[in-house]
């Protein structure tokens, strides 16, 4: 069953909910190897997204909604994560611009374009201890699941699981991008906050798809 606009709306609502519930956790993670605002930034952004995306006309496509998510994140999150997530949703929405509903291929196209957008802006590679360490495994797992002919919900669940492992994989790393890079060896043993927020958003997508 392909996913329509209601799925996107539910995904946004669940993301906002998850970010809000994990606000302090994200602040604590960012406090340890950054400047302690990631939970606040994301919460401010997704709160605004939840409001803004509710204002759309009834005939809005998934891409229309995702574009509003993008511009709202850009204009409310700030910090490094604002432009990065904003670009991700913007490029992702462009990749699915023509669809009324998102099938497995569209989901993979969305995730790939989103990840590529982040790399374009932030120049991070896997292993740099950033949100890319969650996005890239997620894209790869989604593509593999789609190649195996899995359902949309299964594809997103695979992406979320891979993001989760990707986030965990940042623990032993030294950072090469973002604020944590200033810390050198002292970043070792801490999880990258952006990879955790990425996992929350992809898990929200999987849950929304499962409930659809």
């Amino acid at each position: 069953m392909a996913l329509g606009r209601e799925f996107v709306a539910d995904w946004i609502a669940r993301s906002a909910q998850a970010i809000s519930e994990h606000r302090s956790e994200l602040i604590t993670l960012d406090r340890e190897i950054g400047d302690g605002d990631h939970g606040e930034n994301m919460d401010r952004g997704f709160t605004a997204v939840a409001v803004k995306s509710g204002d759309l006309p009834a005939d809005a496509t998934p891409a229309d909604v995702l574009k509003v998510v993008a511009t709202t994140l850009i204009s409310t999150v700030g910090g490094a994560s604002g432009p990065l997530y904003g670009t991700a949703f913007l490029k992702g929405s462009q990749a699915v611009a023509d669809r009324a509903e998102l099938d497995g291929a569209a989901i993979v196209a969305f995730l790939t374009a989103a990840r590529d957008g982040i790399v374009l802006r932030g120049k991070a590679e896997v292993g740099d201890k950033t949100m890319i360490d969650a996005w890239t495994p997620a894209v790869d797992a989604a593509a593999a699941a789609q190649a195996e002919g899995r359902s949309e919900a299964e594809i997103l669940a695979a992406a979320a699981d891979a993001a989760q492992s990707g986030a965990e994989s940042t623990d032993p790393l030294v950072a090469r991008k973002g604020r944590a890079s200033y810390l050198g060896e002292r970043a070792i043993g801490h999880r990258d906050p952006g990879s955790v927020s990425t996992t929350l958003i992809l898990r929200a997508a999987a849950d929304a798809a499962a409930a659809a």
Partner: protein, 333 residues
């Protein structure tokens, strides 16, 4: 957390209301999207200067808006880069037909948000350049980091580029001056205590009663090394030597020596640090020909300080000495 605030959510907005009430005639505050502009903006025929970044570093940047320095400042939430919208609004507000220079501290968030804003401003026909300030020698500038941070040297760039714009230099020339200052200025800081971001509610890092953090950033990012508390002179030596070696500064150089307080350190202690820094420069044959001491680039209530050294020549000295009239830096008018 003990703060003189009402609600953590309203800190920046209420402070901006205070800024507007405290400095009428000098500047205008726009509440949404939040930015501060010179009262007489846009100044026709003058390059516009816009800077910005997270709040919590006051007087940076709003305290430097006015004649001979910034045309606009864009304050983000505390310690968080502003989004592109207010940067675009500020850029449009100060465009006097000669283009606008963005002075951006080198943090991923600031760089990305200013980049997006520059694209949007360009789309509206405004010529925008950017100089990315990266004076902090505590961070290695290598492929393995986000590059050196922009810290207290930002004030010197804003002052000197501001003077160049005020005397009528065009966008290329103002940009070149800003790049030149950035190329000749080096800084490093130390923290004795951690700042507490209002919405976080607890200190940005834990630090023992007998420890200090060397190479601290201005957002409560931990520094590059933690050592035991030491006499002031030793602490100054610890941060001054990497600064001097980096450029490097050499005997015979004329410099501006700037000892900056991070917010919570008493002025009497900043003068003790200044004394040592000036002594070391004198020993090395470096002439301190201009000075600045005080709280200019702060990190909320953090106790600590940074040392900044800028290599001067006649042109930079003249631009430094030129009249300036802002809330936090004023002379000559």
């Amino acid at each position: 957390m003990k703060k003189l605030i009402n609600d953590p959510k309203n800190v920046v907005a209420e402070a901006l209301e205070g800024v507007a009430l405290a400095h009428p005639g000098l500047l205008t505050v726009v509440a949404d999207p939040a930015h501060i502009v010179r009262a007489d903006a846009p100044v026709q025929g003058k390059v516009g200067l816009v800077s910005g970044g997270g709040s919590g570093h006051e007087p940076l940047h709003g305290g430097f808006v006015g004649y001979g320095m910034l045309d606009a400042a864009v304050p983000g939430p505390v310690f968080t880069s502003p989004t592109p919208d207010p940067i675009v609004a500020a850029t449009k507000a100060v465009d006097g037909g000669k283009g606008v220079l963005h002075i951006v501290k080198n943090y991923t968030g600031d760089v990305l948000n200013f980049e997006t804003a520059a694209d949007l401003a360009l789309a509206e026909g405004i010529e925008v350049r950017a100089v990315v300030v990266d004076d902090d020698v505590a961070v290695k500038d290598s492929l393995y980091t986000a590059g050196r941070r922009g810290v207290a040297g930002t004030v010197l760039i804003e002052k000197i580029a501001g003077a160049a714009a005020q005397r009528g230099d065009d966008l290329d020339a103002v940009t070149a001056i800003a790049e030149k200052v950035n190329g000749q200025v080096r800084s490093m800081g130390v923290a004795l205590t951690a700042p507490t971001v209002p919405h976080a509610g607890e200190p940005s890092f834990d630090i023992g009663d007998d420890e200090i953090e060397i190479g601290i950033g201005i957002h409560g990012e931990p520094g590059r090394q933690r050592v035991g508390l030491e006499p002031a002179d030793q602490i100054v030596d610890r941060i001054l030597h990497p600064i001097l070696e980096d450029l490097p500064f050499a005997s015979g150089d004329k410099v501006l020596l700037f000892v900056n307080g991070m917010g919570g350190t008493p002025l009497i202690e900043l003068y003790i640090a200044f004394r040592r820094a000036a002594q070391v420069l004198a020993e090395q044959g470096i002439e301190v020909s201009r000075t600045l001491v005080g709280n200019y680039v702060t990190s909320l209530e953090m106790q600590g300080f940074s040392v900044t050294v800028l290599k001067l020549d006649d042109e930079l000295t003249e631009l430094w000495d030129a009249p300036v009239q802002t809330a936090a830096l004023r002379w000559g008018r």
